[in-house]
């Protein structure tokens, strides 16, 4: 039998090239996208980022489609969180960060000097790995951002709507004065999602939002992501490949090569990336044969 990983890989590589003469595979660079993202919300072009002297992102270009879930996957340390934080200038809060290239949201470069990063973060909200409600009531957690933004409408209505959208309302509606910290981990994460959407963002970024949650709470957040994608653009970082496959419409695979600079290897429709990746590094990673 000749079914060793190596020989199949070799054969596969040869056939792929024979069958797809139009796709030129260049080592170390991202393959051309197989499908173009029409009318993207976020367009990242040739993005480089340094933490002090250490470069963490190199030449990243990708477009995030509107009202879809986009997943960023890749080994730990490849720059997923760094890239995600570039999408709402959260990296500005880290000292000695230098960014080159552009991140456009609705056509405007958010790194332009005229742009207010606080406004960017209203339009592009974020949910973190560890649920981080404020030590305040459930109601105040949700109302907080809107109050800061000078929201003039019916606050009760706004809080209810955000909690409903975050699939938390039924569980908390009778006790909105309870501390956000008294909720379970999964509920806290949904509260953070409610808080993020209460300011009416266009995009919600989620950095491993389920990694501190049990499977049932994870399932609820995953369902919620699909629902939220009807109104918002979602970008999620996850180390769970099955989760990326379940929730996302598009997937970006990143990798840091020997120089430790994180680069985009492959980006495409999730079903196609997980069934028939074009780059052998993607294949190796998602089949668990990495390294």
């Amino acid at each position: 039998m000749t079914m060793t990983g190596q020989s199949i890989r070799d054969m596969l590589g040869r056939r792929m090239i024979e069958l797809r003469p139009s796709v030129e595979v260049r080592a170390g660079s991202a393959l051309p996208e197989n499908d173009v993202v029409e009318d993207p919300v976020i367009r990242i072009s040739d993005l480089n980022l340094w933490y002090g002297k250490k470069q963490a992102l190199g030449g990243v270009s990708l477009s995030i489609p509107r009202k879809k879930v986009t997943a960023l996957i890749g080994p730990s340390g490849c720059g997923k969180s760094t890239l995600l934080r570039c999408m709402n200038r959260m990296n500005d809060l880290i000292p000695n960060v230098r960014v080159q290239g552009s991140v456009e949201i609705e056509g405007a470069n958010i790194y332009a000097s005229t742009i207010d990063p606080v406004e960017v973060r209203r339009v592009v909200g974020m949910v973190f790995q560890k649920p981080n409600p404020f030590p305040k009531s459930i109601y105040e957690n949700v109302a907080f951002g809107a109050r800061i933004n000078g929201y003039k409408g019916d606050m009760d209505e706004l809080v209810e709507q955000a909690l409903r959208q975050a699939a938390l309302w039924d569980e908390v509606k009778d006790d909105l004065k309870k501390s956000g910290l008294a909720l379970s981990g999964g509920q806290q994460q949904r509260l953070c999602i409610a808080r993020a959407i209460a300011v009416n963002p266009d995009v919600v970024l989620m950095d491993e939002p389920c990694s501190a949650l049990d499977p049932i709470a994870t399932q609820r957040i995953e369902d919620l992501m699909r629902e939220l994608a009807e109104r918002y653009t979602i970008v999620i970082v996850t180390h769970n490949l099955q989760q990326a496959a379940r929730v996302s419409d598009r997937t970006a695979f990143m990798l840091a090569a020997d120089d430790l600079v994180g680069r985009l290897v492959e980006y495409g429709a999730t079903d196609q990336l997980f069934t028939n990746p074009k780059d052998e590094r993607t294949e190796a990673y998602i089949t668990g044969r990495f390294g």
């Binding site: 039998m1 000749t2 079914m3 990983g5 199949i8 054969m11 596969l12 056939r15 792929m16 024979e18 069958l19 490949l241 099955q242 496959a245 196609q272 997980f274 069934t275 028939n276 990746p277 993607t282 294949e283 998602i286 089949t287 668990g288 044969r289 990495f290 390294g291």
Partner: protein, 221 residues
């Protein structure tokens, strides 16, 4: 090698497909023997042994199912398992066609042949070669050989044409031969279907390797 257990599971699965393939090939070979030798005990054995083919199919289905649930395969691993699921179903149906020939031989009892067997054995030889080539292409992950299997199907189709017209002529000349001609026509039809299913297996090889689903089915029947 990471995921050694999984790797071994895939290797065993592939071995299982090959084993089942040779089991089915043997059934086709014996079906022809029983026809040529008018060997009714052999034909009965073929019918009995089809159960073994069916059992093997369900066993391999289950192996696929547990690899899918326990290993959450992706990319080429996923394509391999999905392909095996349909390959074993094709093989099982090929086994049914061999069994079908056995049943016709039993039905024919000692009814004299309306014509010497020339093209039917050729069809069997060609169909078995296609099966073997499809399985070789699978093991080698060889897309070009897989496509060649699809091409070979026209040879079987041509032979089927010849058999069909010969038998039709005999029936027209002497209507008392209609029943025995029909028996041979059924045999030829079973062989033609076996060749089509070998082509389906070859299509799955292309999917395993490239992720693309070709339509090789140029069969006229």
């Amino acid at each position: 090698m990471p995921r050694e257990q999984f790797q071994k599971g895939l290797q065993d699965l592939q071995d299982g497909v090959l084993e089942m393939g040779s089991m089915v090939d043997r059934q086709i070979e014996r079906a022809l023997q029983s026809l040529v030798g008018r060997d009714i005990p052999l034909a009965e054995a073929i019918v009995r042994d089809d159960d073994e083919v069916n059992r093997t199919r369900f066993h391999l289905d289950n192996v696929c199912l547990s690899l899918l649930t326990q290993q959450a395969p992706m990319a080429s691993d996923l394509r391999l398992i999905i392909s095996v699921l349909s390959m074993v179903s094709e093989l099982e149906r090929m086994g049914d066609h061999a069994e079908g020939i056995g049943r016709i031989v039993i039905l024919m009892q000692d009814e004299p042949l309306v014509k010497p067997l020339v093209d039917i054995p050729k069809m069997a030889t060609e169909a078995r070669r296609m099966l073997k080539d499809a399985l070789d292409a699978f093991v080698q992950r060889d897309v070009n050989s897989a496509y060649a299997v699809g091409q070979a199907d026209t040879v079987v189709d041509d032979l089927y044409d010849t058999v069909y017209h010969d038998l039709l002529e005999i029936m027209v000349r002497d209507p008392s031969t209609v029943e025995s001609c029909t028996h041979l026509l059924w045999v030829a039809h079973n062989l033609e279907r076996i060749a089509d299913r070998a082509t389906n297996i070859a299509e799955r090889v292309v999917f395993t390797v490239t992720g693309m689903m070709p339509q090789m089915d140029v069969s006229r029947y």
